[in-house]
Amino acid sequence: MTGFMLILRRDLHLAMRQGMDSLMVVMFFVIAVVLFPFGVGPESNILARIAPGVIWVAALLAAMLSLERLFQTDYEDGSLELLALQPIALEITVMAKVVAHWLTTGLPLIVAAPLLAVLMNLPDEGFVILIVALVLGTPTLSLIGAIGAALILGSRRGGILLSLLVLPLYIPVLIFGVSAVDAVISGFEAKAQLLILGGIFFAALPLCPWVGAAALRQALD
């Protein structure tokens, strides 16, 4: 556990020192959502209808943009090899990095989401469920993204490749995250969608660090 905390603290420190980087992810999130009222027109009922989907898609893209840095900088300056040489399992290292990624991108996105929901005219009853769905869904995005980030290490044009690998795997989270909000807005319960989101998270929690570590081992060979 101490090894886990050490890596987590190191990554958080690094993120703090380069504070603009995590802030830029949130700024991208805000700007991407704000583009939609210009694109589809400012009618409030149309905006309210598409709000959950737009916010979720923008959150997906924002989370993906910051993934490239997850292992890339450590891989390039060689510290990833030192992390792999530690007497703790590589899976734990991956897990710590995923938690750090979620704390520096997932959490700020959740904080920014209500503001965007106001801008997009989301009906009042949708706010709480949007936050709950994002809390359940964004950790899964970081977990699945870690696999993609580990797979592209050392490739040509990693960033664009990452989107091709990771976005198809994000679709289930997107579907159930949006349909949870839609259900509550139209007066239904969202229990089933939330349970599925939670189920995906708990399936990804042990599997993704394991696969991510396998991918890192290929990269470090």
Partner: protein, 244 residues
């Protein structure tokens, strides 16, 4: 037996023997399937002549999933036993599978226009097939993204195994969700629910598509082996040329 054919030369010798037979079987099955499908089977009482699209659409969809399973299986073998032929088979399977997936989507779309009144609907079966196409493309892109081909095939093998979660989702999407796409009618409990006149050409075409896959797979593996040899020769030449 399994490790015997890890040697590409030994495998190619075997391939030389079976390839003509597979090619012959493909032509015969395809001819018979097309004859029964286009001439000797009745039009559907509801769908009329458009039902004949099924003889292309359903086998390609089956092959799309079969190829992905073969891809994931080869990748698992390549990762676990470092079997060199499994690597080649995986790399050779991916474009074939992607082509079958594309064919299934296109024929489905052409069939959907007269039957459902639309080229495309976002229902679970169609969406998960589209995701399958993206997974194939992601696999091919990752495989080719590294300067060291070994590294590419290892990384993409992991991706292929992760993407395998999509295959059961495609298979059961029509049962789990209430979709416009009809549920399974050939492979199901209690026997197929379609008439023998239609089932016969369908099965013939499915068999033809399977042997076609094997045929093209052998050709592609042969190509991959040849490309590997060419690459090795060029490296050798470049090295000696540099020294000399």
């Amino acid at each position: 037996m399994f490790h015997r054919f890890a040697n590409p030369t030994r495998f190619l010798k075997l391939a030389d023997v079976i390839q003509p037979w597979i090619a012959g079987a493909t032509l015969v099955l395809l001819g018979a399937g097309l004859y029964f499908g286009l001439f000797a089977s009745p039009p559907d009482y509801q769908q009329g002549e458009t039902v004949r699209l099924m003889y292309i659409h359903v086998p390609s969809a089956w092959m799309a999933m079969f190829c992905y399973s073969a891809l994931a299986g080869s990748c698992a073998v390549a990762l676990i036993w470092k079997h060199p032929l499994a690597d080649l088979a995986a790399r050779a399977t991916a474009p074939i599978g992607a082509a079958f997936t594309f064919l299934a989507l296109v024929t489905g779309s052409l069939w959907g226009k007269p039957m459902w009144g639309t080229w495309w609907v976002w229902d679970a079966r169609l969406t998960s097939m589209l995701v399958l196409l993206f997974l194939y493309l992601g696999y091919i892109a990752l495989n080719n993204a590294f300067d060291d081909p070994q590294r590419g095939s290892k990384s993409s093998a992991i991706l292929a195994l992760v993407g395998f979660v999509n295959v059961p989702i495609i298979k059961f999407s029509v049962d789990w969700w209430n979709t416009l796409h009809q549920p399974a009618s050939v492979v199901k409990m209690g026997g197929p629910s379609i008439h023998a006149d239609i089932l016969l050409p369908l099965l013939l075409m499915a068999a033809a598509f399977t042997t076609y896959y094997l045929w093209v797979l052998l050709i592609r593996i042969r190509t991959e082996v040849a490309l590997g040899k060419i690459r090795a020769r060029q490296m050798q030449k470049a090295q000696t040329g540099y020294k000399g």
